[in-house]
Amino acid sequence: MSALTSLTLKAALDGLADKSFSSKELTQAHVEAVANARALNAYVLETPERAIAMAEASDARRARGEAGALDGAPLGIKDLFCTEGVRSTACSKILGDFAPTYESTVTANLWREGAVMLGKLNMDEFAMGSSNETSAFGPVINPWRRTGGDAQLTPGGSSGGSATSVAAELCLGATATDTGGSIRQPAAFTGTVGIKPTYGRCSRWGVVAFASSLDQAGPIARTVEDAAILLKAMAGHDPKDSTSLPVETPDFPSFVGRSVKGLRVGVPKEYRVDGMPPEIEALWEQGIAWLKEAGCEIVEVSLPHTKYALPAYYIVAPAEASSNLARYDGMRYGLRVDGANLTETYERTRAEGFGEEVKRRILIGTYVLSAGYYDAYYLKAQKVRRKIADDFDQAWLKVDALLTPTAPSAAFGLGENSDDPVAMYLNDIFTVTVNLAGLPGMSIPAGLDANGLPLGLQLIGKALDEGTLFSLGGALEKAAAFKAKPAKWW
């Protein structure tokens, strides 16, 4: 039944609707694909019995004429989302065998529309990382390899399990989250589509917190249309998250395929960074040409504070993380390592439970928030953040959206960037500005590099204007006609 796992989400939903196959057949095919792909380490928990039971319930609903927008479609869920009664660990040892007694709003929205859960997807620990190497379950392997090579490559991070499972046909679509680029960079590294919506579009309730003013959920999918279908189901106002925006969710799929004639697309000159591979520069030029052919007007714009976004992020995100992760005290859930007294119990629990990158970020966050440094670092970073957001506001006076590369390189080898934290942080150079400003950003697969690895282009939109991104993304997807798939070796 391998053909069933190769379908787009849209094609699978159409096939279910016209009774070409049942959800049980579709789900069984995926359960088998997942079980045969453990070499990729994409799933940290497979839930085949639950998947089949959900599929049977879906088939029964469809027979009664009560099918939802995603009814019967098997999806993968990033392990950052709490799923009721199903182990949710954020890929950290400190959560141990934590089994939530509640369901995250985003996943509840998916189940309300009839989706089927295949299992929980691997990720960097607490979503802190750009290569999936910080996961307590070990790294995810990218299904893509360099032409003629067999080196193991990263699928990017932190949503590496989500990206790999979509690229390797281990689900029809996946949930992901993005705090500094964790949806878009893995999408670019695996030839998939990923969108981080406007901050507040998706509820953060039940999503394990990393940096609350930046965290946002979104989908990774095979096509722009599939991403639109998933985001429509995931999004929506939620009174349980006070930062969830009280706005209607547009019919995102209806924006895909619309004409983009006359749209003004900005090209920010500051994104031409030193040392960018010529292939990425060339792909960017190609993307500009495609949008021109589709009738867009291309405008050069300036975002002068771009280079300060990453250092500002590495104050703001660790500061918020050090506060959010204070909850892991070994008393109420997760790991406890006993010490001679309460303080020692806290210290030993957290020393053993957190991995090195998470500890590094908690220490940075604690340092920049500590007495004497708060103004110099934290307040300074928040002011720079305002300047970065202001840059975008200026750009929106001239253009409707921006086009940039998604990442400064193609997928790199496991272990290649792990010695130098700052080198790893630079992966997010093109994506992190969007999180700081709260804007929507989407990565679309646009071509292959000389080694046969996928490269992505990023579209950035105005707040709450995902619709324009879906239209432009659809136009880029059509022009790029990206059909390459990783050769199956696993």
């Binding site: 089994a99 670092y377 305002r386 700052v422």
Partner: protein, 95 residues
């Protein structure tokens, strides 16, 4: 600004993370490297700029002050590393 081993020891204590003595120097070097890279923020003129804590212009909504959840100790305690009856068990803090 360079971070020394004594500062790492103090910050780790504040963060309630046990760091062995032989990790303090390597951590001090790592964190100093990251903070040196962050220093470039000082190039930005931020005089008179309002700090940005949230991307949303809206004020936080208030809900009615009514009970919406609770009364289920089994759910609350179901993941406790140690429990006794309807209580979490924590190390003794008062002699």
């Amino acid at each position: 600004m360079a971070i020394d081993a004594a500062t790492v020891r103090k910050v780790a204590r504040l963060a309630r993370i046990a760091e062995p003595e032989d990790r303090l120097e390597p951590l001090a070097r790592e964190l100093s490297g990251i903070m040196a890279w962050i220093e470039q923020l000082n190039e930005v003129d931020t005089d008179g700029v309002e700090p940005m804590a949230s991307t949303e212009a809206v004020t936080l909504p208030l809900r009615d002050d009514v009970v919406t959840d609770g009364g289920d100790p089994e759910k609350v305690l179901s993941n406790a590393p140690r429990r006794s009856g309807d209580f979490f068990v924590a190390p003794k803090v008062v002699e």
